[in-house]
Subunit: 344 residues, 3 copies
């Protein structure tokens, strides 16, 4: 596919300075771009790379004289990169129709233009929306619904009664709706608490690879609109994750915690159970959240504290050996002073 | 299914105060329960919710006048909730018999009333016990044994020679018996050490979703009776996990470590290799265990210390910037004192 | 298979002291070895076990009089163990040829002597090398290449365009080439950045179970020759992992970070994005790497510091409650001194 720069610019709604008739066939980084590709300067630290780029056009925030070709001027080059890349991105591959080597259970409804690969198993009374793609090895349990336009990558497991919204993407190997971790101790052994709730994933959510999202013990585990999770994320039973929140790789959210909207949970963060994490909170990677956090706070550490305080304490921790010496020295000096005063 | 409260109470062995002829069709939380459901007050902090509940009966520790309907009096309402929920829980769905789209290897023995879904692969000379359910996408290697009544959820991999006990549950996506991580360095490259041991999982164990439990290099990795693991747990080669121990999400146990009975390993905990963790130890979430721990201890931190000490140190870490100021101030004051004394 | 000790010794190139005609049928630990097996003393702390072993021969660094049978003298008994175990290790089981229950896409080339199990799906225009084994439930996307002699265990997903080298092992459940985690914020929602790069895994790499290795946003995520990863490892888009580097369980490497050669990343380590980790660096388990690290450094902590410094600070952290008391005491004493001096 080759498009004129003008066509691209008009699709995005940003102006071009220079020759807008140049043909573009893809987008690439400043270093990797070849003739015929457009590139972008989103990170000002990479400014020097713009001089040597072979790209036939660049997306920039402000016109630069470091580059001679046509420039697409965007208030947010990173966002424009995302949009231009979307124009050129190949669509997910589709099996044409429903494979004879897939199993579709009784009473299950399949929408229009679905793509169901071989070795897919769909249980009974499920509802698969229009244009949904189910890749090989996907398991869809009884009574699951998957909304229009959703894509479920290979070897994903969606357990019974889960509700998956529209335009949801679930990456390979993830498990949705496994039992929550609930036991009562009877004095001798752990007695399993049946996990009879469900998982609901709303529209436009993207779940990374290798996630584990548990069904509720009672009620539902809820992933709201626009949430994005990275790989190897754990979401326990009865958790609620608010709209547009981002959870980065290997983070884990314990049972019944409610996470607000537009929150960022950093990589390898742990969040304890039954907490309230307010809207727009940012939890820095590697932190352990042991108490609820008010909206808008930026926290880190284990347990968490305001990120600025944490940054301060880190320097002090490194200096503890010195502080210890200074403390001992002071004790000696004070003792000497005390003795001197006594002598007088 | 509808049961009288009396029938339920007699099954559990707890008394009812009030009308025991009321019909119950399920159990739910105080907030979610509808007419016809029973509910429970296990967490005293939720006491206020009992006033507004629509439940037709409640499980309580002591008779309460906050609720007008019949009350089932239990010394441990949480445990009673588990038991009542078990009465109402739907059984795992079963494929009727052995799917023609499953592969069963030569010399493999299948017990009575097994349920083997399509796309299951069982290798040669394996032994699958009575009533076992193998969901789609399950791989069972050569010579594996799976005991009576066990349930293996979709896309689980059980590598060759593993021994799985009776009434074991393995949740979706888990891997049992992958190679342990063992290499010898020959000066140029890592030389793989063949992992020729096995994994043995005893009766009544429940393995969460997305676990990785490695086979032993020599001998066996052993998960003893009644152990429960949450999701995304890593258990390395030659580890022993003692009876009824609980390992919470995203924790990892390094090679050859022996964990005792009734231990609780919190979420995201790391335990180093070749350690002994005594019976009834509790390791608080996020901790890093670098040395063996005596029975009954409660530890946290990185590396771990007694939990009480750790709690104390946390407050001090937050105050380090203040301590640093106080130290510098003291030094100034002592210096002044010293100079004053010299002047005299 | 039974081999003379002499045959084994000559294969390895190490001398035997004692009867080299003894027949050996396997290798085992000192405690588990039976008659007919060889054992090894690699860890000097296990020296006492050599006295009671039933092994018919032992691999030792120096001749020991604690054991009466024949001894194979090796400068590196652990490496020799690896090599002898390799002689006896059963090869991975092979499906004979290409299962009729596998799907091979159009235009895909299969090498000689491949073993393709039932329920394998290979997309279009892929290239599968000689002797490759694909276990049940493996998904191989369009245009993927898998080099000669590689083994892909059950339920692994390899997304389109990935390049897998020769003699690569990928353990069960791993996902190669899922989308990197990249979004641009448009003020309302996260706009997905198409991840159009690839993953390249070079020769002799071993990937553990349950890994998630993301494709690049642009360009490639690169795992170089001889790298070994343990289970549940996260490698984000555009990461480069240098030759022979080892990444232990549950570690995560964030986007675009470059890791050098012969690095050891400990368990549960997190490495931030866009860093340079020099050759031969060791990052101790549980650490959080927030800045680039020079070659050869050994670091730990969160954020990391030289490991020796970290070890020192740990002791001081434990003593913080005491230090706090001593600080307060000093303040009292200095105050008293000041008042005394004033009184004079």
């Amino acid at each position: 596919m080759e498009l004129t720069l003008r066509y691209i610019a008009e699709s995005i709604g940003d102006p071009v300075i220079g020759d807008d008739q140049v043909l573009i066939r893809g987008i690439n980084s400043l270093l990797l771009a070849e003739k015929g590709e457009i590139s972008f300067l989103a990170d000002p630290r990479l400014k020097d790379q713009i001089k040597g780029t072979k790209a036939s056009a660049v997306i920039v925030k402000e016109l630069t004289n470091l580059y001679q070709g046509p420039q697409l001027i965007s208030p947010n080059p990173y966002l424009t990169y995302a949009r231009v890349a979307t124009i050129f991105a190949p669509p997910a591959p589709r099996f044409p129709g429903i494979s004879e080597k897939a199993i579709i259970g009784e009473g299950t409804h399949l929408g229009k233009d679905v793509s169901i690969y071989p070795f897919v198993y769909v249980g009974q009374e499920a509802a698969i929306g229009n244009r949904v793609i189910l890749f090989p090895g996907v398991y869809v349990g009884d009574r699951v619904t998957v909304g229009d336009g959703s894509v479920v990558y290979p070897n994903v497991t969606i357990m019974s009664d889960s509700i998956i919204g529209k335009e949801v993407i679930i990456h390979a190997g993830s498990v949705i709706g496994s039992d929550g971790f609930g036991y009562a101790w009877d004095g001798d052994v752990s007695v399993k608490i049946p996990q009879t709730g469900i998982v609901q994933i709303e529209d436009n959510v993207e779940i990374g690879a290798q996630n584990a999202i548990d069904r509720a013990s009672l009620g539902k585990t809820l992933i709201q609109k626009g949430v994005k999770t990275d790989n190897l994320v754990q979401i326990s039973h009865n958790v609620v994750v608010g709209e547009n929140t981002i959870i980065i790789a290997q983070a884990g959210i314990a049972g019944s915690t409610r996470i607000g909207r537009n929150v960022v949970i950093g990589p390898q963060v742990g969040v304890s159970d039954h907490l309230e994490i307010g809207d727009r909170v940012m939890v820095v990677g590697g932190s352990g959240v042991a108490q609820s956090i008010s909206p808008g706070e930026v926290v880190s550490g284990f347990p968490t504290m305001p990120h600025r305080l944490w940054l301060k304490t880190r320097g002090h921790v490194r200096r503890l050996p010195k502080y210890s010496e200074r403390l001992r020295e002071l004790e000696d000096r004070v003792k000497e002073l005390e003795e001197e005063l006594k002598r007088e």
